[in-house]
């Protein structure tokens, strides 16, 4: 990241600089981290391809496990979709942090004189982009394979909101799990019980849209989802500093 690196000030100023960068500088450093993740992914394509293939395999397994005939399809589609996204999501979260750790990038990132939370938000948005790309490919494929229209604005909004909450918690926890000996196994165990409050309303709201429930029935779930997104984002924002501190 040459841009953020060049703003480093010699002498006794870096600490001052770190706190008084202003919103513009803060957003620029978030942008730089997202950009770095996207470029790295564009060159290697190892994260997205793994998430995608895995997601499709999960859908395939569900096909046999649940006998997705027309009648059951209506009721289980939201569940199948969210399980797929959640599983593929952990794969991506794990990988995106492991790459930082193994190649020593994380230490480099922490040395950059920006607010640590900028790193958090940068990683969150980067992970969110990956998750949304996977979803953007799985949804049309699912629509074609099972002849069901998933392109309803309400459903897409729920998927976006659910992914935000999922990634907000997931990024925080994956930056902890990556330091553990058992990191690949640990992330889903840490993440799933904690992220349940996001997944439950997301599944319920998706189901509501797919089954054509009235808006009044779906709205409480949507509200809950938004509130949880905000809560988890805020908590992660507050504690992230302690997670990456050396």
């Amino acid at each position: 990241m040459p841009e953020a690196g060049s703003t480093r000030v010699v002498g006794d100023q870096p600490v001052v600089h770190r706190r008084t960068g202003g919103l513009g500088a803060y957003l620029r450093s978030i942008g730089a981290i997202i950009w770095k993740d996207l470029v790295a992914e564009l060159r290697s394509r190892e994260l997205l391809s793994a998430m995608l293939v895995f997601a499709l395999l999960v859908v395939l397994i569900f096909n046999f496990a649940l006998e997705l005939d027309i009648r059951t399809r209506e009721t289980v589609t939201s569940g199948v979709l969210w399980v797929t996204f959640a599983f593929a999501g952990t794969l991506g979260l794990n990988r995106s942090m492991a790459v930082e750790k193994d190649r020593g990038c994380l230490d480099g990132l922490l040395l950059v004189p920006v607010d640590r939370t900028a790193i958090y938000f940068g990683k969150v948005i980067g992970n969110l982009v990956f998750m949304l790309i996977v979803e953007a490919i799985v949804l049309p494929l699912y629509s074609v394979l099972y002849n069901i229209n998933l392109f309803q604005p309400g459903l897409l909004a729920v998927i976006l909101l659910g992914s935000i909450g999922y990634v907000a918690v997931g990024t925080l926890l994956s930056s902890m799990a990556v330091h553990a000996r058992t990191r690949d196994v640990l992330l889903p165990i840490l993440l799933f019980p904690v992220v349940l409050p996001v997944l439950v309303p997301a599944i319920k709201a998706s189901n509501g849209f797919l089954q054509g429930f009235e808006m009044a029935e779906i709205l409480p779930w949507l509200n809950l989802l938004i509130v949880y997104d905000v809560i988890f984002m805020a908590v992660a924002f507050m504690v992230f500093d302690y997670v990456v501190e050396e």
Partner: protein, 233 residues
């Protein structure tokens, strides 16, 4: 080995005595519930165990917060000890609930919000212990434990809220409960005595165990230091 402090010794005896009294109150003093019969007596320790579980996890979250703010190691030890106790009592809570549910609901298990939340809570803190186990650096282990303890504690009531929107069949005995819930009942004065005494006793059990666990922690550290000393000679 340092001798047990006097206060802890006293606490041991007090807790033991309280437990005997609680057993008497629950098994003999409290009247037999008219509809459910003796199986209702599970209720006293069931709620008390649940209360200790929740209390223990609250202590973990608070101790974690204090640790992050001050960086003193003893708060981390409290957090960890508390989780271990909480996991055991939450497990007792779930199992005793199952024992009660079998004759009353005619099933060991049902996907009721409270049952699910208790289970999710148990899983969160088992994950907490696994996280700690996987991290070698004690400083980092303490920080991560504190963070996960706080995030986990926040997420548990949210889980409850999300699932609560479905109708629940779990009876709410304290406060305004839905009288149509399967297995609901009103407590008679004697039942009330047994109930609150159980809560009181279990809180003492928690405090005693916590103290012993912290002491054990100190001993194991001492052993560790002695080992190092011997090895370095």
């Amino acid at each position: 080995m340092e001798p047990m402090p006097k206060a802890l010794k006293a606490l041991n005896w007090i807790t033991g005595a309280l437990f005997v009294v609680a057993l008497y109150l629950v098994l003999i003093f409290a009247p037999r519930e008219a509809v459910m019969g003796d199986v209702q007596r599970v209720f006293y320790f069931h709620v008390a165990a649940g209360w200790v579980g929740a209390l223990a996890f609250l202590v973990t979250a608070i101790a974690g917060g204090v640790y992050l703010a001050r960086g003193e190691r003893r708060w981390d030890l409290v957090a960890q000890a508390s989780v271990e106790i909480g996991v055991v009592f939450t497990f007792a809570n779930i199992v005793s609930g199952s024992v009660w549910a079998r004759p009353i609901w005619n099933t060991w298990w049902t996907w009721d919000p409270r049952l699910v939340t208790a289970t999710v809570m148990e899983l969160v803190y088992i994950a907490y212990l696994m996280l700690r186990q996987g991290i070698e650096d004690p400083d980092r282990r303490a920080r991560f434990g504190a963070v996960y303890g706080i995030v986990g504690f926040l997420s548990v009531p949210l889980t409850f809220l999300s699932i609560r929107i479905f109708r629940t069949i779990h009876p709410v005995v304290i406060g305004s409960g839905d009288p149509t819930a399967a297995g609901a009942f009103d407590m008679s004065p004697n039942m009330r005595v047994a109930f609150f005494f159980s809560l009181f006793t279990f809180t003492f059990v928690y405090a005693t165990l916590l103290w012993h666990r912290l002491r054990l922690q100190r001993f194991s550290e001492k052993v560790e230091q002695m080992k190092m000393k011997i090895l370095s000679v």
